[in-house]
């Protein structure tokens, strides 16, 4: 732990951090505390303010209001110290295409001050860990999207940072490559403070210790994935598939606080939803139920409840 960090119980602390671009407020006074060794996820749709937040924390963008500390170092007063304890895997695959994987890794190691021996050892370890050692001397422009992304993450790990920012690390990857990267991220849990931005709810659900749901530059909910889901519906949603009329849906809404219209019927949040009560509403209207089943609440449901929007809109 650095000298600046002594007495500071959080790896990352933001205080009303904001950023505007002209009339647009991209980040609107966010307060966050991220614990040491925590895997913290910023979840939100495109344009919610996740990347802008990360860019400010990495000293690439100046906040227009508020500030933040990383391991006790102020991002505005002491950016060089901040940069010496962090590393980042940006949203786009950030690699030097004309170099090979080995050269990319040793370049980043050198920039972060590792000596030649340490740079070689660390690069070798990471190439093996990311299963890139077989093609380490090949120009990376010939790599597949998944390989480039794995290299990009490896480049963020080469300096062995105390705080790691992963900005949409699996964006645009096929499910197999995504799962492989999840495994690598899971290995970091507890060892490093990781801030993961994603708009894949299953990614945040599977990996994060805590999730901050961000929308229009504001944190709208914060907690563990389990707490967030329980907070809206006691963890369950009843799906009713039937040809429903507007009148029937209105009647159900009088019974239950959250009823969402879907293509095949409705979704009713909460454990109180009861099939017999629903039949009592639908039968007098001549509506028969095609099927009903219970599904687990997802973070998408949480997001929908809190913002009225779906994450992938």
């Amino acid at each position: 732990m650095s000298q600046a960090d002594e007495g500071n119980s959080f790896a990352i602390q933001t205080t009303s951090i904001s950023r505007t671009f002209g009339d647009l407020t991209a980040v609107d006074g966010i307060d966050l505390n991220v614990e040491h060794g925590e895997l913290f996820s910023l979840l939100g749709p495109n344009g919610a303010g996740k990347t802008t937040t990360i860019k400010m924390l990495c000293c690439l963008l100046k906040p227009t209001g508020g500030t933040a500390t990383i391991m006790g170092h102020d991002i505005q007063k002491d950016p060089l110290s901040v940069k010496s304890v962090i590393d980042v895997s940006p949203q786009e695959t950030a690699i030097a295409e004309r170099l090979n994987a080995w050269e990319n890794l040793t370049l980043m190691a050198g920039l972060h001050g590792l000596d030649k021996q340490a740079a070689r050892e660390r690069s070798g370890e990471l190439l093996e860990m990311m299963a890139l050692d077989g093609r380490a001397k090949e120009k990376v422009k010939n790599y597949s999207g998944g390989m480039k992304r794995r290299l990009s993450i490896a480049m963020a790990l080469v300096s062995d940072p105390q705080v790691l920012f992963l900005d949409e690390p699996t964006l645009g990857l096929d499910p197999q490559s995504r799962r492989a990267i999840w495994e690598h991220i899971e290995h970091l849990k507890g060892e490093k403070t990781v801030v993961l931005t994603t708009h894949y709810l299953e990614e945040a659900d599977a990996l994060a210790d805590r999730v901050a749901i961000i929308d229009e530059g504001k944190i709208v909910a914060l907690g563990t994935p389990k707490d967030l889901k329980e907070s809206i519906a006691g963890d369950q949603v009843l799906v009713v598939e039937a040809a429903l009329t507007d009148d029937a849906v209105d009647a159900l809404r009088k019974l239950y606080p959250v009823v969402r219209r879907t293509e095949s019927g409705v979704e009713i949040e909460g454990e109180a939803a009861n099939i017999y009560d629903i039949q009592d509403v639908l039968r007098p209207r001549g509506i028969t139920i095609d099927s009903t089943f219970k599904k687990q609440t997802t973070l998408d449901d949480v997001f929908l409840r809190l913002t009225g929007k779906q994450l992938r809109e």
């Binding site: 860019k55 000293c59 100046k62 060089l80 690699i95 370049l107 972060h112 300096s159």
Partner: protein
């Protein structure tokens, strides 16, 4: 030195792009070979008179090449990653400039070697010629850093054309006294004619440092300003 690793990468980028390197180094050589053919008709086209102007033409290409690599990087996510490393603006500018010094030296050696073979004569100190050309090359590379920090890739060729025209009409290839008027005043205010006069005076007339001091310091002043501006503009780009 952390920037050395980045300088190495940039060096590789330069040397792994044979087409661009070939044009940067080869075109001035080709120009010398073709233009010296007219030497028997007009003494302006003898290698001794031509070579300094052609070296400056080569440096303009060097400027374009250095501006292009910085501008291209700035438009990529890779550059954002570089900026998150604990490296200062001055180290970044050094890392993007250093790889072009060997290219400038290679250009100079090739041009003068071929020039000597074709009859080029150096009456004064070779060291002094090298010193003037080295400072001039740093000026052009610094200008490349300014343009690369400020401009996106697309408008760079426009900036290249402007600098090339300024170099040609600013005295490198035209006799300012013969043109006179505003052209002469503007040309004399710019560094190009001074770089050329200093080099030619040493080469043709065997002038010593005292005789070219004004021209030399004029170029040096521009070089300091170009490098300082490159630092200022680069620093601004680091945190937007």
């Amino acid at each position: 030195m952390r920037s050395l690793e980045l300088a190495k990468r940039n060096f590789r980028e330069v040397w792994r792009d044979p087409l661009s390197l070939g044009i940067t180094v080869g075109l001035p050589v080709l120009l010398l070979l073709v233009l010296q053919l007219f030497g028997s008709v007009d003494p302006f086209f003898t290698p001794t008179v031509l070579a300094p102007g052609i070296v400056l033409f080569g440096f303009v290409m060097l400027m374009f090449s250095s501006a292009m690599i910085l501008s291209r990087d700035r438009e990529s996510a890779f550059f954002s990653r570089l900026l998150t490393a604990p490296v200062r603006a001055r180290d970044f500018v050094a890392a993007y400039s250093l790889p072009y010094l060997p290219v400038a030296i290679l250009q100079g050696i090739l041009l003068f070697a071929i020039g000597l073979f074709l009859g080029l004569e150096v009456s004064g100190s070779v060291v002094l010629v090298i010193l003037v050309l080295l400072v001039t090359s740093i000026f052009y590379i610094g200008l490349g850093m300014v343009l690369g920090s400020l401009l996106p890739l697309a408008p760079l060729s426009g900036a290249y054309a402007v600098v090339l025209l300024l170099t040609i009409f600013g005295g490198a290839w035209m006799d300012l006294e013969a043109i006179g008027g505003v052209f002469q005043s503007v040309g004399n205010a710019l560094p190009f004619a001074h770089a050329l006069d200093a080099t030619r005076d040493v080469m043709v007339e065997g002038a010593g440092f005292g005789a070219i001091a004004t021209d030399f310091y004029w170029v040096l002043g521009y070089t300091v300003v170009a490098v300082a501006l490159a630092l200022v503009f680069f620093r601004r780009k680091m945190t937007e």
